[in-house]
Structures are given as C-alpha cells and as structure tokens.
Symmetry: C2
Subunit: 377 residues, 2 copies
C-alpha cells in the first residue's frame, strides 16, 4: 500500500504532468529517477539542455496548477495522480496511464466498459441499456465515454440501479455533447466523471484516442455494441485486448453495417454477448497474465512511477555526450526496444535511460508504450 501524497507532491506532480513535452512515459521515468516531483522539476532544464534543447521546457507555475486543483475541488472533484493511492489501479497498469486525472465522484475497481456507435439503432441502445442495468445490478461499474448513442444508453442504464463512470475528452468542467449535459451531471453525482484533459479544455477530435485509452484502462473488459468497421469503438476494443482485458461483443444482423465491426470481433474471439450473464461468466478478477506480462510496470511492481532505478554496473561513469551520441547513432525512425538499445550500447541501463530522458525533453526522441523509443523526424 502507498500512503497519501503531500499537498506539495500532488502539486508538483500536476505541474510535471502539465509540462510541455512530458508525456506519460517520461513522467514515469522522471518519477522513478527522482525522489520527488520537485527534484524532477529542478532537473528538467538541465536534462533538456543536455539533450540539446535550446530553451527550457515550459513548466506551469505553481499558482496555475493550484488554481486547477481548486477549480476541480469546487466542482466536488479531485486530481488523481499516477503513483498516488487513489489512482485507479487497473488504469495504472497501462504503459500510457495518464499522469493525472480530473475526477468528480468515486471510481470503483471492478468495472466493465461499454462502447459502440454514436448513430446506434434504437434496438442497439436498448440492448446497451439493459446490459448496463443488469451489470450494475450485479455490482459491476459500467464505464463509457458520454458520447451519443451506445455510450449514453450505457450510462443511463447503469445509473438506474448502480454506479457508472464517464471518461470524457474535455476538461472536467465541460459537458459534451450538449444533449448529455444532464446525464453527465447525474453520472458525476452517482458515479464518476474522469478526464485526462486539463480544467477548461474544450473537447477536440485529437483528445478522443486518449479518452478511449482511459475507458479501456479502467475496465476488466470491454463490451462492444453496434460498431462499424474502423470505428473508434473497435480501436478501444483492440487497445483493451492488448492490455489483457477481456473482449465482449453483441451480435447483430449482417444487414446492418453498424454490426459488422462487433460481429468481426466475435469472429476473432470476443465473447458473444446477449445478456449480462455472458459478461459475468467471462469476467476475470484481474487483467490476463499475457497483458500484464507485456506491461513493463508489472515487472517492476504494481505501483507505477515508483519503481527503483535499475542497479548500476560498477564501472567508471562514461562521458554523457558520448552516451547520447552513441544512442542517437543506434536509433532510427522505426521503434527500438530500450532493452535492445542498452545491450547494444554497452553502457549501463541507468546511463542510457538518463540519456533517453534528456533526448526526449529535447524533442529528439520519443518514448513509446511498451518500453520502446524512436527518433523524432
């Protein structure tokens, strides 16, 4: 178990997460390298400069971060910090777990996501509502994305008998789409609304993939109801599967293009789902071993961001410039596994990881989920 974070550490981590160029992977690396967020923030300019960056990264001032914390609190919510005790543990297993989450309401552990078409048929929405109501009745929290169609039906169904969580793409204070404003308020009251986006952020198309990632990450399984091929719902489903979460799909008529994606999922192994019993019978207590094994965090322990740095090889410290030069030589525009890079470098792991941190803060490389790294073009 991890104790509560101090207010200062909470503030520091929020500032770090909101810093220009610090993505989920860099955030984790910085916190696994420095004892506190303050130390990481202090080190940032030097690291970026070592990596070759001309101007230091933009860190939001403490006053701005404090204002965000206060605004969320005024709505009755909190900022959840990756590595803190209230951060959802299943979401923390993701490589790309959001460093901070705005949260209004309460997150619960045993959850199932339900996603599908915005332009869902009346029958599809009815199925989603019934499934969600029955899952909620069985004590399962239903997670969805507060979109039109299946999402709204899932939230509404679960609200009638239990709790539900909406992961949204905008700031926690924004309701979208307009017709779901009342539903979003009821979900915040009865369950929770969470978001990775800073307070006040308007929803934009580019935020939706990260929102989908939160939906999948919060859940032990994803139920897909009416999804066309190539739809966002299928991307959420694949992401969930990659993270070892269980996949469920509701079958539908071949005549309806909205069912082709969900039928495809069944064809490729998703559980055919007609009733909540189909979900309950196949819902594991934990993400599958396969998914966990693929998550680098699992190897280091269950609480992300707090892993010890790898043990240093006893040898004279190499010249940092030489290390960065060698790392840049070995990298290319297709992703390379960091473990492979370390082996080929002949430098110690911590020396290479430091070089990668510096290079990322200088926008010369990008860290990818799955402990991979790629040159920035």
């Amino acid at each position: 178990m991890i104790g509560p974070l101090t207010a200062a550490e909470q503030l520091g981590r929020l500032r770090l997460a909101r810093t220009d160029g610090v993505g989920p992977v860099t955030y984790r690396r910085l916190l696994s390298r420095y004892a506190t967020a303050a130390e990481a923030l202090d080190a940032l300019p030097g690291l970026a400069k070592s990596g070759g960056r001309a101007t230091p990264p933009m860190v939001p001032p403490a006053s701005v971060a404090q204002r965000e914390i206060d605004s969320v609190a005024k709505l009755g919510g909190r900022i959840l910090v990756l590595g803190g005790p209230d951060y959802p543990p299943l979401l923390a297993l993701l490589d790309a777990a959001p460093p901070v989450l705005g949260d209004v309401g309460a997150l619960a552990a045993r959850a199932v996501a339900m996603v599908g078409a915005r332009n869902a048929s009346a029958n599809g929405q009815r199925v989603a509502e019934m499934l969600a109501a029955d899952l909620a009745l069985a004590g399962i929290v239903v997670v969805s994305g507060m979109a039109r169609g299946i999402d709204a039906a899932a939230h509404a169904g679960a609200l009638s008998t239990g709790r539900t969580v909406a992961a949204i793409a905008s700031g926690i204070d924004i309701t979208y789409p307009p017709e779901n404003a009342d539903l979003q308020r009821r979900v915040a009251k009865g369950g929770a609304v969470v978001t990775e986006a800073p307070f006040g952020t308007a929803p934009q198309a580019r935020h939706f993939p990260r929102r989908n990632c939160v939906i999948a990450g919060l859940s032990l399984g994803v139920v897909v109801v009416e999804a066309a091929p190539q739809s966002g719902s299928l991307i959420t489903a694949r992401m969930a599967q990659d993270e070892g979460r269980e996949l469920f799909a509701v079958p539908g008529s071949p005549l309806d293009p909205r069912c082709r994606g969900s039928n495809d999922l069944i064809r490729s192994g998703a559980h055919l789902t007609e009733t909540a019993a189909d979900v309950l019978a196949n819902l594991p207590d934990h993400p599958s071993r396969e998914g966990l094994a693929r998550s680098p965090m699992f190897a280091h322990g269950p609480l992300p961001g707090l892993a010890e740095p790898p043990p240093e090889a006893v040898s004279p410290a190499p010249n940092p410039n030489a290390v960065r030069r060698r790392v840049m030589e070995l990298l290319s525009y297709s992703p390379t596994a960091v473990d492979d890079l370390i082996r080929r470098c002949q430098f110690s792991a911590s020396v290479v990881v430091t070089a990668l941190l510096e290079l990322e803060l200088a926008d010369r490389v990008e860290m990818l989920p799955g402990n991979q790294v790629v040159l920035v073009g």
Copy 2:
C-alpha cells in the same frame, strides 16, 4: 466406382427397404451379408423366425414396388438406392443413410444446407435469400427443407442463379406447405426434390427428423439463419456436426428470440456468417476426419452396403440358439457398442452380427447409428 444396378436388384432393394422392421442399419447389414437383395429377401423369414418372431415380416410384393418406381418415373424422377452409383456420396456416409430416396431432378455433390425458423423475420429471410443466391453463384448447391420462412427463402435465392435441392418429409408427389407448391415444382425442375418417404405419403410431424437427417447428410456444411433454442434447425445443425459437417450461423440481435439458437451456435464454435464468403472460406472438400472416423461405413470403405463380411475366426460353428441367448443376456435397455458385445461374447463377429440381424427382424433388439444395439422394451 460402382456399376449401375440391374433393374431386378433395384426393385429388390426397394422392396427390402420398404419391408416392415428393416431400418437403415438392418438394410446395410443384410446387403453386406447377402450377394443380392433377392437373397436377402429370401433369408428374411428364416432370420426373423430364428430371432423368435412368430409371423414373417411384411415384404411388399414386387408389383407394389414396381408401381412406386413407375410413379416416380412418371414425375420425371428416379428411385436412388443406397449402394447404387447415383446415391449421393455424402449422404451415404451417414449411419442412418436412407436405403432409398425418391429423387426428381439432379443431386450435386458440393452442397451447403440452409435452415432456420419457419416464422423468420423479413430481414432473416432476406439474409437467407442473399446468402443462398451468392452461394449458388459460387457454384454451391443450396439444400433446404421446403418449409415456410428461411427454407423457402433459401430455395428461392439459390434458384435465381443456380441449383437447389429440397429434402421433403412427404412422398415425392406431394407438395407441402400449400403456398410453396409452385416453388417446389421450380426446384424439381431446376435442381432436385428428394425424400425418404414412399410415393403418396402425406407429411407428418414424425417424418421431419428423418428429413432433417437427409438435409444434413447431403451437405458439407449447414448454415443456420434465425433459429430459436430447441428448434428443429438446431437439431439438424447438431446432427450435421456429429457427422463431421461444418457449422455456420448468422448472428442476430439479442432482442430477437429467433436469433438465440443461432447465436448459441456461434458461441459454441460455429462460423459467424455474414456473407457467402464466410461460408466459402470455411467449407471443406470433405466431411472432417473426426466425423468420418465415427462413421462405421468409412472403416469398411466408401460405398455403404457393399462391405465384405468380417473374416471368420477358424473355429467350430457355435449353436445359433446359444449365441442369441448369450447376446440377449449381455444386452440391456441402454445402448451397447457392437464391438464391445463381440469382445464379451467370445463368438466371432459374423456369428454375433447374424444373431443381431435375426433378433432385430424379430423386434427384440434395435440397431442404432454408431454401430450400437439396444434391447427393445
């Protein structure tokens, strides 16, 4: 290859098949034991008497059988005899392959069955029609049962571009249900109508299971469109699967009870089928090994009814009464494998098989598919 049967042998086999107490299994055994149908017919009264039957079995006179052949011919059809060259080879693989089939039209080898609800939805019928039309276009013969709903849609769809086969429960001269009379005539003209029932037989509920068996037996696979749980379509599907045929099912909404049976099939491994491509991609050239291995006929050679009797052990012929007594002692009211019976009897296989024939003709035992035998209560 097997040559054509003489007219006399054809007539003899029809009489044998139409004899009181001669089911598919006994028919095969008699023809594997006697060189001709005439010899089998001559032996019948003696066998039945040995088995303990008071009066000889009712064999229809040659004139009656000839009248049936002539009536079918007048409709433009033929009687197909198991063991004859025109008998459908896939159907012949079944333990319970019908000894004779009335046939108007032409049967083709590479066929897929399509079955489903009589009270199918308009959409379900449309899917069946589209699938059947596309399969026919791809050169596949579509087999169905000429019932209302899915059956009629499948025949109509396949007729538009190709051939289709209707297996019916009545005599070849009867059309049923009335609204399909025209469709049945068009199927007989463009494809084939087949039946196990004698000429002039009215359709009765008890004929439908045997009709379903012919549908499954003629086909490399069965496509189920809209089938409720416990429906006849599911029985046909299970039968097909037991015989090593491939199973396909069209998914449907959980809200429609007519889709629950077909969805269940997908859940338990049937190919999820939206288009003809799903069928074509998974249609084998032959029934699966597993199914074939289970069929006793396969072990004896591909042409049923003509297998050689098993080699006799060189030992003095045992007393037939003693053999029958011992066999009756060993049997019970739950099915026993004939192989097991032979092993426990300590008599040669042919001696035991003869005793079983006699006992079956005397209605004291019943031969079951899968080379099993049971006491008649």
